[in-house]
Symmetry: C2
Subunit: 430 residues, 2 copies
């Protein structure tokens, strides 16, 4: 089985993840050789700043010309850990044109151009693996597209962004407000200086698009994913959640419609019961809950980011791609045969938790209840609190289409007895 000519790897990018990939390839070379069935050799490292000292990496391997590295003719596998759209996209395409399989950790690129990249890989008879693009080290892409290949996934609900989970966990456990928790996350290195991609849900939406495609064997574009950030979540929302036996998480939720003919994909903060396995996912950990027809309820949990965990996922893919190369085979490519349409957010059926500031006078509750009824939204519970002419109403609805719920809220805002809508939050996981 063992051959002696090594498989040659081009590493594109050498930041936090890339340097860790290079380190493990060197320190664990014997293990990788045994598991692949052939030695694997780091043949070149493409970087932007060649002058930077990179411990453990032979300077002779470093180049600024990634394209030339891919074109030189002896590379078997390219590892793309540059991130972002360009030059990553062009380099991956170049790799496929030169018979090179690709392992990528690039969620933004996969979410935006997954279909065309998969097509290019398939046409060339090559592999495109990307376990690291979703939920870091947590094995998720492979279990969903291989272990559950004989099952039907109906629902995926996940915490796929560690930064926002850290912030929400802090708010929950300490009673802190959003800004205070964000500041702590930034100080500890969990949030970037510009946290927009995380807190506005863009990062989670990219992962949601990738996961939805795999889960439902259909193509889900980034634009198909409804997205709401978590910057408006307040300490008061956590207090309300606690009264309901819930906590608040930023969730990516992918669902097959009840009739099986369409799917939905969305990212937003939501209340979930404390008894739900996702509720106890603390700090910056990620976890993804999968409901499949035969398998039932599964959960995958682990670190969703960081150099080492991401490198672990990249190297698992590297072993698989190298084994495929040796067998002259390819792993599973894109599976989009169901061609299910993605329905808009309005079609999602869910529950709402709504806090209203209302006038403290008779008839307010009746007026509010009538508004819900007019929009076909059934109320589960109402809690009324009044003091000094001011009052608040907390309404939790039964399940209804999101369009009906947002129509209700719009109408409530117009009632002269409603002074304001203090918060609206979906309730999931029940």
């Amino acid at each position: 089985m063992m051959r002696t000519r090594p498989l040659k790897v081009a590493l594109l990018g050498c930041g936090v993840v890339g340097s860790e990939v290079a380190r493990i390839m060197t320190t664990h070379a014997d293990d990788l050789t045994a598991r692949i069935g052939a030695p694997v050799e780091l043949a070149g490292v493409a970087v932007r700043r060649p002058s930077k000292v990179r411990e453990g990496i032979d300077p002779a391997l470093v180049t600024t010309d990634a394209t030339a590295l891919l074109k030189r003719g002896d590379i078997d596998v390219a590892i793309e850990v540059i991130g972002g759209i360009e030059p990553a996209r062009t380099l991956i395409t170049t790799a496929f044109e030169h018979g090179i399989s690709v392992v990528s950790a690039n969620k933004a690129l996969l979410a935006q151009d997954g279909a065309s990249l998969h097509a290019a890989a398939e046409q060339a008879g090559l592999d495109l693996y990307y376990e690291a693009a979703v939920a870091g080290a947590i094995p998720l892409v492979r279990p969903m597209r291989e272990s559950l290949a004989g099952d039907k996934i109906n629902r995926v609900m996940g915490i796929v962004n560690g930064t926002t989970n850290f912030i929400l966990d802090k708010m929950d456990s300490t009673g802190a407000g959003y800004q205070e928790a964000l500041d702590e996350a930034t100080a500890l290195g969990y949030a970037e200086a510009d946290p927009t991609a995380d807190v506005e849900g863009y990062d989670a939406a990219a992962k949601a698009a990738i996961l939805a495609g795999i889960a439902f064997h259909t193509r889900v574009r980034l634009d198909d994913v409804y997205r709401e950030g978590m910057t408006e979540v307040s300490a008061a929302d956590f207090a309300s959640a606690k009264r309901m036996g819930c906590t608040i998480k930023l969730l990516a939720i992918l669902e097959r419609a009840a009739d099986g003919e369409s799917v939905t994909a969305r990212v937003h903060p939501a209340m979930i019961p404390l008894s739900h396995p996702l509720a106890s996912v603390r700090e910056a950990y990620n976890a993804v809950f999968v409901e499949a027809e035969a398998a039932g309820r599964l959960m995958f949990y682990g670190p969703g980011a960081g150099g080492s965990p991401t490198a672990s996922a990249v190297l698992g893919d590297l072993v698989a791609v190298c084994r495929n190369k040796l067998a002259e085979a390819t792993g599973p490519g894109e599976s989009a045969y169901t061609q299910l349409p993605v329905s808009p957010m309005g079609d999602v059926v869910t529950r709402y938790h709504i806090s209203l500031d209302v006038a403290d006078k008779p008839g307010v509750l009746a007026q509010v209840a009538t508004t819900f009824a007019e929009h076909g939204v059934s109320i589960d519970t109402v809690r009324q609190q009044g003091k000094d002419g001011e009052a608040s109403l907390v309404v939790v609805t039964h399940r209804a289409p999101d369009a009906a719920l947002s129509g209700t809220v719009e109408a409530l805002r117009k009632l002269d007895t409603v002074r304001g809508v203090a918060s609206i939050m979906r309730v999931e996981g029940e």
Copy 2:
């Protein structure tokens, strides 16, 4: 890509799992075809009792002669869901002799004869897949041997038996004793009439042997696994656990020694902190916690048994094996290159929680403490309770080799001030 000649499958066994496999193969035939790249056909079903009515299965496919089915020349893949050692072992061997790849759900057989079956598969250039053998529907074998193929697993700690977890969860949540909880598990169908294989840890030990082999790339035999059942766990133990902020679980624990030169494998009840992700695994669910060098702490959670979940795992393997057949390749076989020895239980380093009934007189604590010190076991905490001339001592130790701990307990039993050792339990997961 699509070919029209179907891949032919022989189903060996048609009990709870087998009938569910057959049902899904029929109802989800189009999905399986799309995911495999060729149609897959149930070509024969070998059973013991052919007269039994099997809904949805063409009676013309049913045979009592499994060997003839495998030898008839057109079978591509055999699914073995008979269980037990024979005739399963001989049939799998026969399959390999006739160019047939095998998907098995047979933990007992894999734990006992995995090495020879893997060798037979490899020699014949065929696949042996067995995701369903460990933790039912939870993708675990594939993530461990493929997703983590570029990483180094140092520790696996899992709840791999649903029956015992149901019993222990009942004891924890209701304060019931072992017998009462077992009776409820039996009444609800979670425990078999003879629960020995579950409650004495035999089932978990078989899974532990399989998982240890995969985790450490070495061969771990069933006899290498230290095994202790959970029939002695009492309501008093749960009360003690609660005082420590712990619960009690039956755990399969697989560890690489600190020097990396050996491994240990064991199954026993243990206290774990309530903050540990495994502590919140309720009812009959399974979960496996994996610590890898680069990936960090991962957990896989889901239903560990049952017809549908197990069928889901079998069918995921079926898709993979069929895809391999079409690509004229094979998936990863046994990986035992590290050849690490398995150390005995005495070498395991852990902590003990020990309850002693002692005479309520001065000097007892000093005598007990001396005994621990003589065996090189350092005490973390001692709690002393006395009433009416009787007293109890609860000692929690620091980490020490299991041999030193059991030596300490043996010596304690000989002290005339120690009336009895009420319970001994290991403390894990800290």
